[in-house]
C-alpha cells in the first residue's frame, strides 16, 4: 500500500504542523516535503524547534501535535505508534542516545531487525545470518567490535554513542533517516564516520533529514535542500549554498528577516 507510486509519493509531507510540550507551543506551522532520493538539512539556532520536529516525527509521546498533518509514504503518520513508524522504515538517530544497562547490543539489534522483518511479513533472521550482517556493519561504520558485545551504550563515550546510532541505522537501512544533531560533540574523525554512514545509505528510494546547529557536517553530507527553522517556523529554504551563508553570517540575519516580514 505505502510502496505504491514510489516516484510520485513524497516520503514525508509535513503540513502546517503545530506541536506543544507541556502546553507550550514549540512548532508553529511547519511545512516540509521530502521526496525519495533527497537529503534535507534543518538548521537553526538553539530552541528553534529542530529537535522537536525530529522527535515528533518519530512519535515521542510527550510532544503533542495540536494541529497540522504529516503523511509518511502517503499514510497518516500521526496515527502510527512509534514502533510502527520504525517498522515502516523511519529511523531517529538520537541527540542523546539512551544507555540500556543489561541489554546486550546483539539482542537489542536483532530484536529491532526482527520486529521490522515480521512487520513486513518476513521470518525472523537466523542467528548466524544476523552475526554476519552485524559483523559487516561493524566494520563498515568502524566501531570497536568490543562495543557490540557490551550493554547498549552503557559507559560509551559521546562519540561512541553516536557511532552506535549510525551502526543501528546501517543495520536497519531506513527509508527515512532523521538525524538529530548527530554531529554535536563529535571530533573530525567521528564526524567523517557518521557522515560516511549516512552517505552510504543514500539511494534513489530513501531520504534523510539532517538536523544540525552547525554547517560543518554539511561539508560531508551534501544536502539537496537547506531549511532554517526560527521560532518554530521554517523561515528560509534554499540549496546547499544557504548553509554556507549561515556559516558566514550566523542566524541573526534570518531572524531579523522573519521579524521584518511579520512586523
Amino acid at each position: 500500500m505505502t510502496t505504491a507510486n514510489q516516484t510520485d509519493t513524497p516520503i514525508l509531507e509535513v503540513k502546517d504542523l503545530h506541536v506543544s510540550i507541556d502546553g507550550q507551543e514549540i512548532l508553529r506551522g511547519v511545512d516540509l516535503t521530502v521526496r525519495p532520493g533527497e537529503v534535507h538539512a534543518i538548521m537553526g539556532p538553539n530552541g528553534s524547534g529542530k529537535s522537536t520536529l525530529a522527535n515528533t516525527l518519530a512519535g515521542r509521546p510527550e510532544y503533542t501535535v495540536t494541529s497540522g498533518k504529516v503523511l509518511y509514504n502517503g499514510a497518516d503518520l500521526l496515527k502510527m505508534q512509534p514502533e510502527d513508524r520504525a517498522r515502516e522504515g523511519m529511523f531517529l538517530a538520537f541527540q542523546y542516545p539512551i544507555e540500556l544497562p543489561g541489554v546486550r547490543a546483539w539482542q537489542f539489534l536483532k530484536a529491532a531487525i526482527d520486529a521490522k522483518r515480521v512487520h513486513q511479513g518476513e521470518e525472523e533472521m537466523g542467528a548466524r545470518e544476523f552475526d554476519r550482517l552485524l559483523r559487516s556493519k561493524v566494520e563498515e561504520v568502524e566501531i570497536d567490535p568490543e562495543l557490540v558485545r557490551r550493554s547498549v551504550n552503557e559507559g560509551f563515550s559521546g562519540g561512541e554513542k553516536k557511532r552506535n546510532e549510525v551502526l543501528q541505522m546501517a543495520l536497519l537501512e531506513p527509508k527515512l533517516a532523521l538525524l538529530d544533531e548527530t554531529d554535536s560533540g563529535l571530533d573530525i574523525d567521528a564526524l567523517r564516520i557518521v557522515s560516511d554512514g549516512v552517505n552510504r545509505l543514500r539511494r534513489p528510494d530513501n531520504a534523510a533529514v539532517v538536523v544540525t546547529h552547525y554547517q560543518r557536517i554539511l561539508n560531508y553530507i551534501k544536502p539537496d535542500y537547506v531549511h532554517v527553522l526560527v521560532d518554530g517556523r521554517i523561515a528560509l529554504s534554499g540549496g546547499p549554498e544557504l548553509a554556507e551563508q549561515l556559516e558566514a553570517r550566523g542566524y541573526d540575519w534570518v531572524r531579523e528577516g522573519v521579524d521584518a516580514a511579520s512586523g
Binding site: V103, F108, A112
Partner: protein
C-alpha cells in the same frame, strides 16, 4: 499445660509425637530447641522488635501446620524429571533431593566420594555423620535457638537435612540440595537444616533450592549454618522458588575466619510471605564477603530481606548488592546492616539496593544502614527505587520494539545484573529461565512514575 502448649498446641503435639529414634546429638539438640521455643515463641509482637518491623508472621503462627510422620518417599510421587524441571541440576553435581522433608535417595545423584578424601556430604540422618561428620556437633552454634523463635522451632524438629564437611585443602565441588514440597490437602511444615564446615583452604559450592506447588499452603522453616575457615572459599546460593501460597522463613548464619572468602546469591521469586534472614560475621582479618540478591514480587507477595554483615577484624571486605522487581500490590523489604567494630580497621564495605517498581501499588522499604565504630574504613551505601524510564521506552520503541517487548527486555536486563554474577553456568541458565518465565506483563502505556 504450659503456655507453649496453649499458644502452639499443634507444635507441642508434634514435638511430643516425634520418634526418639535419632542420633543422640540430634535428640539433645531438639530438646534445646524446644526449650528455647517455649521461651520465645514466634516473633508475633513487632513493636520495638526491629528485625520484624515490616513483617507480620501472625498468619504463620495461626495456621495449624501438620508435621507428618517421616515416611520413605514413595516411588513415582516425584520423578527425576520433576526435579530437573523445578530445580537447577547438573550431572556433575552432588545432588541431594528431599521430598516433604525426607531424603529421597532415588532422586539424588553424584554422591560418590572416596572415603579417603575426608569429604563428607550426606543427609544428617545418615549414620556416617556419627562416625566421620564433624559438622553435626556444630549444629546450633551459629544459628542459636535461644536467639530466634524460628530457629528454635527448626531446631526442635531437627530430623534430617544436609551435612557438608570439607577437610583441609579439600574441594567438595558443587553440592545441590533440593527441598521439594508436594501438594497435600493439609498444610504442612518442614524444617530443613543445612550445616557446612569448610576447613582451612578448602572449597565448596552449596546450592539450596526450595520449590513447591503454587496452589498449596505450606510452610518452609529453613536454617543454614556455614563455617568458612582460614583461607577457605565457599560459594552459596539460596533459591526461594516456593509456590505462591507458601510461607518461607529462611535463616542463614555464616562465620568467616582469616583470609576466607564467602559469596552468596539469594534469589527469591516464590512464596506468599518470604523472609531471607542472612547474617555473616567476619571474625578473621582479611576476609572477603559478597552477598548478592534478587527478589521478584507480584500480586500480594511479601518478601523481607534482613541482611547483616558484621566486621570484627581488620582488612575485611564486604559487598552487599540486592535488587528487587516489584509488581501488583506486592511489598518487599531490604534491611541491610553492616557493622564495623572498633578493631575492624581498613574495612572496605559497600551496600547497594536497587528496586524497579512496575506498579503504583507496589511498595518497597529499603533501609541500608552502616554502624561504624572504627575510624579508618571505606564504607558506602545506597538505595534506589524507580519506575521504568519513559525516555528509555521511547528509545526502544523508535527501534521498532513494541511495549510488551520493551518491558520484558528492560525487566530482564535489570535482573540480569545479579543473575550474571552467578559463575556456575547451569545454575545461571536455570535462574535466567526462571526469571524470563516469571516476568510480569506490564502496561507501560500508562504514564507510570510521572515525569
Amino acid at each position: 499445660m504450659t503456655a507453649t502448649a496453649d499458644t502452639y498446641p499443634h507444635y507441642t503435639a508434634a514435638y511430643e509425637a516425634q520418634s526418639p529414634e535419632v542420633a543422640e546429638t540430634l535428640r539433645a539438640l531438639r530438646n534445646r530447641g524446644w526449650d528455647a521455643f517455649s521461651q520465645l515463641g514466634l516473633p508475633t509482637a513487632r513493636r520495638g522488635n526491629e528485625p520484624w518491623k515490616y513483617t507480620n508472621v501472625a498468619p504463620i503462627a495461626r495456621e495449624a501446620f501438620a508435621h507428618p510422620q517421616p515416611m520413605p518417599v514413595e516411588d513415582g510421587i516425584v520423578t527425576l524429571d520433576d526435579v530437573r524441571a523445578a530445580a537447577p541440576w547438573h550431572a556433575g553435581w552432588h545432588t541431594f533431593v528431599f521430598v516433604d522433608g525426607v531424603f529421597a535417595p532415588h532422586l539424588s545423584s553424584g554422591g560418590e566420594i572416596a572415603e579417603s578424601s575426608g569429604i563428607v556430604i550426606a543427609p544428617l540422618a545418615d549414620t556416617i555423620h556419627a562416625e566421620r561428620g564433624a559438622s553435626v556437633s556444630l549444629l546450633g552454634e551459629l544459628a542459636r535457638p535461644e536467639d530466634d523463635g524460628f530457629v528454635a522451632l527448626n531446631t526442635a524438629f531437627v530430623r534430617d537435612g544436609m551435612g557438608i564437611d570439607v577437610p583441609v585443602d579439600g574441594d567438595a565441588g558443587v553440592v545441590n540440595v533440593v527441598y521439594l514440597t508436594t501438594g497435600r490437602e493439609q498444610p504442612r511444615v518442614t524444617h530443613p537444616r543445612i550445616i557446612v564446615s569448610a576447613q582451612r583452604n578448602s572449597r565448596a559450592t552449596v546450592i539450596e533450592t526450595y520449590v513447591g506447588p503454587d496452589d498449596t499452603r505450606y510452610f518452609t522453616n529453613a536454617v543454614a549454618e556455614i563455617h568458612v575457615h582460614e583461607g577457605a572459599r565457599v560459594e552459596h546460593y539460596r533459591l526461594l522458588m516456593d509456590g505462591m501460597d507458601a510461607y518461607h522463613v529462611g535463616t542463614s548464619r555464616v562465620i568467616q575466619h582469616r583470609d576466607s572468602g564467602f559469596s552468596s546469591g539469594a534469589i527469591s521469586r516464590g512464596a506468599a510471605l518470604g523472609r531471607n534472614d542472612f547474617s555473616v560475621t567476619l571474625i578473621g582479618a582479611g576476609a572477603e564477603c559478597t552477598l548478592n540478591g534478587l527478589y521478584l514480587t507480584v500480586g500480594n507477595q511479601h518478601m523481607d530481606n534482613y541482611i547483616n554483615i558484621d566486621h570484627t577484624e581488620p582488612n575485611g571486605t564486604s559487598r552487599m548488592f540486592y535488587k528487587g522487581i516489584l509488581d501488583g500490590q506486592s511489598r518487599a523489604i531490604f534491611g541491610g546492616n553492616v557493622t564495623v567494630r572498633e578493631g575492624a580497621q581498613k574495612t572496605d564495605a559497600q551496600q547497594t539496593d536497587k528496586n524497579l517498581l512496575l506498579s503504583e501499588q507496589a511498595e518497597v522499604d529499603s533501609k541500608p544502614s552502616l554502624l561504624i565504630y572504627a575510624d579508618d574504613v571505606k564504607c558506602g551505601h545506597g538505595a534506589t527505587a524507580g519506575h521504568i524510564d519513559l525516555d528509555t521506552v521511547f528509545y526502544m520503541q523508535s527501534r521498532g520494539l513494541d511495549l510488551p517487548t520493551v518491558s520484558r527486555i528492560l525487566i530482564h536486563a535489570f535482573a540480569s545484573e545479579i543473575i550474571d554474577t552467578v559463575a556456575l553456568v547451569p545454575l545461571r541458565e536455570y535462574l535466567d529461565e526462571q526469571f524470563q518465565n516469571a516476568i510480569p506483563d506490564v502496561d507501560i502505556t500508562l504514564p507510570i512514575g510521572g515525569r
